[in-house]
């Protein structure tokens, strides 16, 4: 573990780098989180991953609510590993906001400045300004239980920002909202995050939230970062089943030789890309066509014998889960699914055009 400790200050030159530079290692029983994060001021980083992946633990480690077992944490060049949470220039928006129920919206926002030594009247004036910026001036005197979910979220954001943090942490900022307000709140949050001049890190299990709000994604599974990059990059080139499923792609690993990829899962697949070596092949469920009888004269060279294992509505489409030569998901219109008379156990032929597949090096 000593190898991971930050070098003594006398040896390491003061880091001029602004922003966040962290390697978070938290060990708790059998679970181990080990994630590296770095971001420049103005960046919005999303930690995306399934429940239990360790996203929230990472956030709590950044806030100082969970001690690091190893690794380092520097913010604007200042090491923070041993700094208690109350002395870190960090603001947190908690998942269910945790607004103090006995204080008005104004006093909730004024709480941080008050704790950091600002006088009562000044702290309240600053809080009023923040509420004004959030469009909540008329709710200043309201107790949190009188606020709607979206309003509470903005009060929580104002409360976190009122201490002028150099790192803003948001834990599932939209999870507590219903679908209707979510859209509106997401747009507002995006606006506020764009204005924020320091580093913001948000945790979410919703890929849409991550892609709309963040400009850099770190996908965490089982305590480790499995992929990171820009939203569009991750959406187009998923590297794990979890991400592929999230962005709605069929994903396979295989060995490429020219336009043919021999999949680990069994059959070969023809692609447009010309590659050699280990690759990923991805295609959307909408690229799959299903037939009851073996298609003749079809130009699709990717043809597999499958069996329906499940159907579920997916928006205005029906998503069909298939097993057989190649396990895959296919999207059909309700009408097409009805015409094919699909139900669990129906044998079908699945085809995918090479032009709709996408192969990239693994």
């Amino acid at each position: 573990m000593t190898a991971d400790d930050p070098a003594p200050a006398a040896v390491s030159a003061p880091l001029p780098a602004e922003g966040l530079d962290a390697r978070l290692v938290v060990e708790r029983g059998a679970f181990r989180l080990d994630v590296a994060l770095s971001a420049a001021p103005g960046d919005v980083v999303a930690l995306l991953g399934p429940n239990g992946a360790g996203k929230t633990t990472a956030l709590r480690a950044l806030a100082g609510l969970v001690p690091l077992s190893a690794g380092h944490l520097r913010l604007d060049g200042v090491p923070l590993e041993r700094t208690p949470p109350e002395d870190r220039p960090v603001g947190v928006v908690f998942q269910d906001y945790l607004l103090f129920p006995h204080l008005s919206a104004l006093d909730n926002v004024a709480f941080g400045p008050r704790c950091r030594g600002v006088g009562r009247a000044r702290a309240r004036a600053q809080a009023a300004e923040w509420l004004e910026r959030m469009g909540l001036a008329e709710h200043a005197a309201s107790k949190p239980r009188r606020l709607s979910g979206g309003q509470a979220q903005r009060v929580a954001l104002a409360r976190a920002l009122a201490t002028h943090p150099r790192l803003l942490l948001l834990d599932e900022p939209l999870a507590a909202l219903d679908a209707r307000t979510r859209l509106d709140v997401r747009a507002r949050l995006r606006h506020h995050l764009a204005e924020f001049e320091a580093v913001a890190v948000l945790v979410t299990h919703d890929p849409l939230d991550a892609m709309v709000l963040a400009d850099h994604l770190v996908v965490i599974e089982d305590g480790r970062s499995v992929q990171e990059g820009g939203p569009s990059d991750i959406a187009r080139h998923p590297r794990t089943d979890y991400i592929a499923h999230l962005v709605g792609l069929n994903l396979y690993r295989g060995e490429a030789a020219g336009h043919t990829v021999r999949l680990d899962a069994g059959p070969a697949i023809t692609t447009t890309e010309d590659l050699t070596g280990p690759v990923f092949v991805a295609f959307p469920p909408s690229a799959v066509t299903l037939h009851r009888d073996r298609p003749t004269g079809s130009s699709a060279r990717n043809l597999w014998r499958c069996e329906v294992t499940g159907l579920e509505t997916h928006g205005d489409q029906i998503r069909i889960a298939l097993t057989g030569e190649l396990p895959l998901a296919a999207d059909l219109t309700t009408l097409a699914a009805a015409e094919l008379g699909l139900r669990s156990g129906t044998p079908v032929w699945a085809t995918v055009k090479a032009a709709q597949t996408h192969a990239y090096p693994a």
Binding site: P85, E86, L98, F100, H102, F111, C115
Partner: protein
Amino acid sequence: MTAPPPRPGRGGAPLPLLLPALAGLVFLVLPLVALLVRAPWRSMPELLTSAEVWQALRLSLVCATAATAVSLVLGVPLAWLLARVEFRGRGLVRALVTLPLVLPPVVGGVALLMALGRNGVVGRWLDSWFGLTLPFTTTGVVIAEAFVAMPFLVISVEGTLRAADPRYEEAATTLGASRFTAFRRVTLPLIAPGVAAGAVLAWARALGEFGATITFAGNFPGRTQTMPLAVYLALQNDPEAAIALSLVLLAVSVAVLAGLRDRWMTAS
């Protein structure tokens, strides 16, 4: 105006349960009714306005309130420690704190004498260094009552603290609050109802305290003779006065129960 539809099946409670239930109810209520029946209502005004009664009542209220204050100042932090800080031997500490709840109060009184009496483990130093004598003084009454009553407060506040979401304290620390500030400005207001309920419980217990008080503080009118002691003494020479005094304590108890009604009577 429609009556609720009759429940299907055989209504009513079975006799083997109903009879003991009613007997239990009578057992609990009958003595209180008897107290009211035998109360010397005609001579009540003069009994209750006598100087001794007022003296005892005043002393009782003052001492119970002081004991509650002591319990709050020491008991709330103790409850916080038990609820929020993990340390080795926490279970043992909790057991020790709870012990006075089940300990016969007279044993508590003897124990206090051994600790704080003139020749007690600590008392002898208090006496020789500060000339401070606790037993058989009004301060001794407060100490005896606090010893018996504080566990009620600690248990009540600890329960409330455990039910309160500790993440509010975390939220406060991320905003720059020290742990103490977080406790004072966030946790304490959140658990205020539980603290109030615990304080009332402790106050009621202190008001009725008899065994530890008479053992540690004695029975001196005006100095250490609280209401329960006065009742006991009066019963020997003036039963009517004892009944009158008992009615005063009963009235106080009913008032306390009424005050807590919203919290406990309507619970569950």
